[in-house]
């Protein structure tokens, strides 16, 4: 870590941004590239315009798991700078985003192309990427006899969000998959600037709707830090209960969908229904199956009294019984394992190089989990061991989910049985001016990173959102290399990434 030229903070600790710690571009590049080489994660990399000039500021957040510390590094840049991606592949998509949002040219970026086909934040024109209709890009092409290309989407076969996939195939074998997104772009980061206001919380609740609690928590923690408010242990416990229910529901749903993709119908049908039961448990807490309205800056809007805790515990018993029966069936079926094992493998080395997070990283043997490494809220007082597997294939991504379901069930039970006393909501009124805060949470897909920077009046001057899917989509492309194209649905489901979380 680099204490002199960067800010070293804990998750959710504010940094004075009236005079941000800064360094030269040369040193910035060295710190990021060497940092990632030394085991840091690149949690965010973004540009924002300087307050008083035409220039920009490039900021990186490096997360050091061993030290439970975040380095925030920044440097002033102009309209172009030397790209980090050739030496640090994990920066690849971030730099495409920077080019698209601000017209800044990361020179010698190996694969500079639009990422969301969104209008630039700073007027029209200029920059390395001409604005164009969505989907119009140079796709990587394989040439040769009997080579063929398969294009899928944006509208897919199932009830699923839109995205475009291009496969370069030879026979059944996929040599390359290119993923082109942006169809869900709703302008969230643009709209967040100048906030918080009445809509802000709703942006986070719908940014990736299946991760309502994950993103709402990251936002609330950022705002609480900027407002100097600490929620009570009771409120933090309630939020964590909802977050783990979110994880349980989605993981069980995914296990069912994975079963469906290999034609194993019993587990598919049962898990679809059990997932609904978990969502209904969340709805008992706040009325909404996705947890909307539960987490608010300063705490929660709904309490869990003893009777409600009892009722939820009671329901969890039958949820667990049913889940064990449905999912053990899946892992005990040799026909299913034959389809899961060895398919779509991502090595630990690749996972680290491209900066995978969450379930996908843990399934490749990378032990990363914000709840454990950079604990926040009630996780500071409880141990969440990291669930990993080594094989990196569809089996590993399924199995890690099942391990986490069981762990989260135990966690929720324990929390419901021992809810500490405390007030529900300590209102956040004003945010401190000219501060920066990094807020990390572990959503059910993986690390969620929010970076909020306030202006002179304590409004958001910049708000950067990094959904875990942003790190992981490229992992899906890697997983498909050398696979049968018919295994795409299975591989895709084993990642189950968010389109809207990526597109913002």
């Amino acid at each position: 870590m680099y204490a002199d030229t960067s800010a070293s903070v804990r998750n959710g600790q504010i940094i004075d941004w009236s005079d941000p710690p800064e360094t030269s571009l040369g040193q910035f590049r060295r710190m990021v590239i060497e940092g990632v080489g030394d085991g840091a994660r690149l949690s965010a990399l973004f540009a924002e315009p300087e307050r008083s000039s035409e220039a920009f500021r490039l900021t990186a957040v490096l997360a050091w798991p061993e030290e439970n510390a975040l380095s925030v590094v920044s440097c002033p840049i102009g309209r172009s700078y030397q790209s980090l991606t050739p030496e640090c592949p994990a920066a690849g998509w971030f730099e495409r985003e920077i080019a698209e949002q601000w017209g800044i040219h990361p020179q010698s970026h190996p694969w500079l192309k639009p990422i969301r086909f969104q209008p630039p934040h700073c007027g029209e024109g200029g920059g390395p990427l001409a604005r164009r209709a969505i989907g119009l890009a140079d796709f990587f092409r394989l040439e040769g006899e009997e080579v063929h290309e398969v294009a899928v989407g944006p509208v897919h076969a199932g009830v699923i969000e839109p995205g475009h996939f291009r496969f370069q195939c030879h026979g059944e074998t996929v040599y390359h998959l290119e993923i082109s997104l942006g169809y869900q772009h709703r302008g969230i980061e643009r709209a967040l600037r100048g906030g918080p206001d009445r809509r802000t919380r709703h942006y986070f609740e719908t940014l990736a709707g299946d991760t309502t609690i994950g993103h709402a928590t990251a936002y609330c923690r950022a705002v609480e830090a900027l407002g100097g408010v600490h929620p009570s242990a009771r409120a933090e416990s309630i939020v964590a209960i909802a977050a783990e229910l979110e994880r349980i529901a989605n993981h069980i749903g995914d296990l069912g969908a994975l079963a469906g993709d290999v034609g194993f119908l019993p587990t598919m049908s049962y898990c679809g229904r059990i997932r609904g039961d978990v969502l209904n448990a969340t709805a008992m807490l706040c009325g909404n199956r996705f947890g909307r309205g539960l987490a608010v800056p300063g705490g929660v809007d709904f309490d869990i009294d003893a009777a409600l805790a009892q009722e939820v515990l009671h329901r969890l018993d039958s949820i667990e019984r049913d889940a064990v029966s449905a999912i053990e069936l899946l892992f005990d079926a040799p026909s299913v394992m034959a389809r899961f094992e060895g398919v779509g493998a991502v090595s630990e080395q690749s996972a680290r190089a491209i900066g995978l997070v969450g379930v996908a990283a843990r399934a490749s043997g990378v032990p990363c989990d914000v709840r454990h490494e950079f604990p926040y809220g009630i996780y500071q007082f409880t141990q969440m061991p990291i669930c990993t597997w080594h094989s990196g294939d569809c089996f590993a991504r399924a199995y890690v989910r099942w391990l986490e379901v069981q762990q989260s069930l135990a966690f929720v039970r324990e929390r419901l049985r021992s809810l500490p006393p405390g007030d529900l909501n300590r209102n956040v009124s004003e945010l401190r001016a000219n501060q920066c805060v990094v807020s990390l949470t572990e959503g059910w897909r993986g690390e969620i990173c929010h970076v909020a920077i306030t202006d002179d009046r304590g409004r958001f001057r910049a708000y950067k959102v990094v959904d875990p899917s942003f790190h992981n989509w490229f992992g899906l492309a890697c997983a498909l290399r050398g696979q049968q194209i018919s295994d795409f649905p299975l591989c895709n489901k084993s990642f189950n990434l968010s389109y809207c979380g990526h597109d913002l």
Binding site: Q118, R198, D210, Y270, L329
Partner: protein, 253 residues
């Protein structure tokens, strides 16, 4: 084989009795259809309208607010802001309407709007194939539409099915505000559906843009590009709200 049978017994029969039997009970904290009381407003009070994140509350009636369910996120900020309980969110789940104007709830509104659709009831009442298109949806409306295909809800019972190709569909079920980046795809998908066809808009985004209303990156809902035959409000609507709307559209309830 034995373990599969054992699991089958453990999992029981779970399909809900509705619509022949009662609907599943909704949680106590569920926010369903709001009820507006006349004559409770303090003069000049605008607290409800000012608290609403999406401008769903209007104060154009003399002595009571009106709520546009097509915009509403059911966050209850307005009800909380009101000192006189002029707005109360009940647990009633029937929110769908065939006409956009019928989504406006005011004092004395009927507690259910018509969803009848002569064509749909005549042609599709026993078989409705829908192509779902997410056009900026956050995956909550998608999930709670898709959940209707699970065995608890089992919309297959009514001949309703989500199909892969628009060519096999009788209509579209749209979620999301229709982002600029999906506008063309939505139109093309609609054009690919053989006539006669229907369009169902599910969720605040698809009806009005939801939290994204008036963002230049989107188009304030499906009606901006397609003729909509049924609106199903919510953020997201409860599966029961969606199912109930579909059944009434088809004249099956």
């Amino acid at each position: 084989m034995f373990s599969i049978l054992k699991a089958r017994i453990q999992q029981k029969h779970r399909t809900i009795a509705y619509p022949d039997g009662p609907p599943p009970e909704l949680p106590e904290r569920f926010a369903g259809r709001p009820v507006v009381q006349a004559g409770r407003c303090d003069s000049g009070c605008r607290k409800c309208a000012e608290s609403c994140p999406v401008g769903a509350v209007a104060l154009s009636d003399a002595d009571s607010p009106r709520i546009d369910l097509g915009r509403c996120l059911f966050c209850r900020a307005c009800a909380k802001a009101c000192p006189n309980q002029a707005i109360v969110f009940g647990r009633a789940h029937h929110l769908a309407a065939a006409e956009r104007e019928d989504l406006i709830v005011r004092a004395g509104s009927a507690n259910e709007a018509s969803c009848r659709h002569a064509l749909a009831a005549k042609l599709f009442s026993r078989s409705l194939k829908l192509r779902q298109v997410s056009a900026g949806g956050c995956n909550a409306c998608e999930a709670d539409s898709n959940v209707l295909t699970t065995l608890a809800w089992d919309i297959g019972r009514f001949g309703i099915q989500f199909v892969a190709s628009p060519r096999h569909a009788d209509g579209l079920l749209i979620t999301g505000p229709v982002t600029e980046n999906m506008r063309l795809a939505v139109k093309k998908t609609y054009d690919a559906v053989p006539a006669p066809k229907i369009v169902i808009a599910v969720g605040a985004c698809a009806i009005s843009g939801g939290p994204y209303a008036d963002h230049p990156e989107q188009h304030n809902g499906a009606a901006s590009v397609l003729p909509v035959d049924l609106y199903i409000p919510g953020c997201p609507p409860h599966p029961l709200t969606i199912l109930e709307g579909l059944l009434r559209l088809l004249g099956r309830k």
